[in-house]
Amino acid sequence: MSGATKFGFLIMLLLITGAVLAPALAPFDPDAISESEIQGPSARHWFGTDDLGRDLFSRALFGARISLTVGVVAVVIAVLIGTIGGALAGYYGGWLDGLIMRLVDIMLAFPSIFLILAIQTMLTPNIYNVMIVIGLTSWMGVSRLVRGEFLRIRELQYVEAARAIGCSDLRIIFRHILPNAAGPIIVAGTLGMAGAVLTESALSFLGLGVQPPLSSWGNMLMDSQAYMRDAPWLAIIPGLLILLTVLSLYFIGEGLREKLNVRD
């Protein structure tokens, strides 16, 4: 395992621990006003306080829960849709393949952030809709990938053997082909989670994602632009956390790619 991958796993472990143990670790109630004004980082408030006087460290810990959960759930949705679509397209081919791949083409031609924004304004912006919308707009890459794997694997002899002994299509798809396509899917999922965390942060920053008082790293940045002169830590800290998370996921993804022998 390379140094970068180890770094990635270490940071992820820290972030997940912080997220899971947030209620025990947070020195303050994340929603409570603990000071009467904005304060810079200090021994009492490690990350300072925000414009309402809430402890930023506590909010960041609770924000980790939201941001990481949104990332995981969104990517699970995307991988499920992408895998099923790609498997059907690659295994059956023909008109079904044509139909699914045209849908992929259409979805890819949207600037995705625009589609997400549009859907989000139409729905009530809340954490569940954020997960669903990100999932529904980011499955296309996985779909193409899985289709490619299926096209390759379905011609292999062991699939022919499975068919010869009378396995059903579903059994061949799920028991024989899919496990052998797992490597690329796992790598794509890891990188996809990085993308989902980024998208959530942008959405919440624009006010269309996770809604206050619930804190996510993205919505912690929402008001920071107004306090940039007097309280730059409000803009710096949540962004650094997003950067670290995404970077770790990239490093883990690269590590997995090498370990699982996945081509680029």
Binding site: F110, L117, A202, L221, Y250
Partner: protein, 304 residues
Amino acid sequence: MRRYILRRLLQLIPLLIGISLISFLVMHLAPGDPTALFIDPNVKPEELARVRTNWGLDQPIYVQYFLWLKNALLLDFGRSYTTGQPVINEIAERLPMTLLLMIPSYLLTLLICIPVGVISAVRKNGWFDNLFTFLSFAGMAIPTFWLGLMLMLLFSVQLRWLPAVGGIILPLMTMTIGSLAGLTRYQRAAMLEVLNQDFIRTARAKGLPERVVIFKHALRNALIPIVTILGLSLPDLFGGAFVIETIFAWPGMGRLGVQCIFQRNYPVIMGVVMLSALLIVLGNLLADIGYALVDPRIRYERRD
């Protein structure tokens, strides 16, 4: 080649219709009514009904869609709910501002990513490669909007060199750094792959100077994939424009789109989506054509 281009152009028609249908449904099936955002709630019901009729909102949704499609084919995208101006004019006013960011950013990206990618590949695992590998991972992991905020913090709040809003340098920097990271990685990978080919080994074996091997034999082949990726990176560039223009209050098409989404200004949103989608699919098509032009091995049709 001509027949291939014609076929691809014809394929764009169902694609664009599909895009318009999905966008239309997403907007119009949402609960609520756009008039609620523009019209004084105390207005008389007759007046409200008149506005709804005017905007065609009283029609069944499939009628609304076919009306929109019919007019769109004649390049009439309706009028903005807020300003009453034709959508075409609104977009035509803003598009040059977006292109003013995108085109220089594209050129700058190319100008930087090709040499950096090539040097990284030639000196694989050297200090230059390691530095830029780290930088490109960081660049890919940075949220674009936060990069914009940080540049603003550094250059306008701390150093006071550049205006936070109104100047072109900060949004241009944000957009370029955002697309640079991925493309540099891509160029490096392309060069590495070429350097592992047999013909490079042959060139070295017959005693050509390394300079000739790199520039004449390897680089030319390593530039081919970048032509494709140029077309394929258009959606990301557009996506970035929406956020970047919003942060820096840059009066381009992206900001117009985001504002209209918040206002549920349907005709303008449809116009912006369709134009972006058209540019994206045309970009992809140009990428494929460019690919065939620079690489004579690629043929999209059988030679007669």
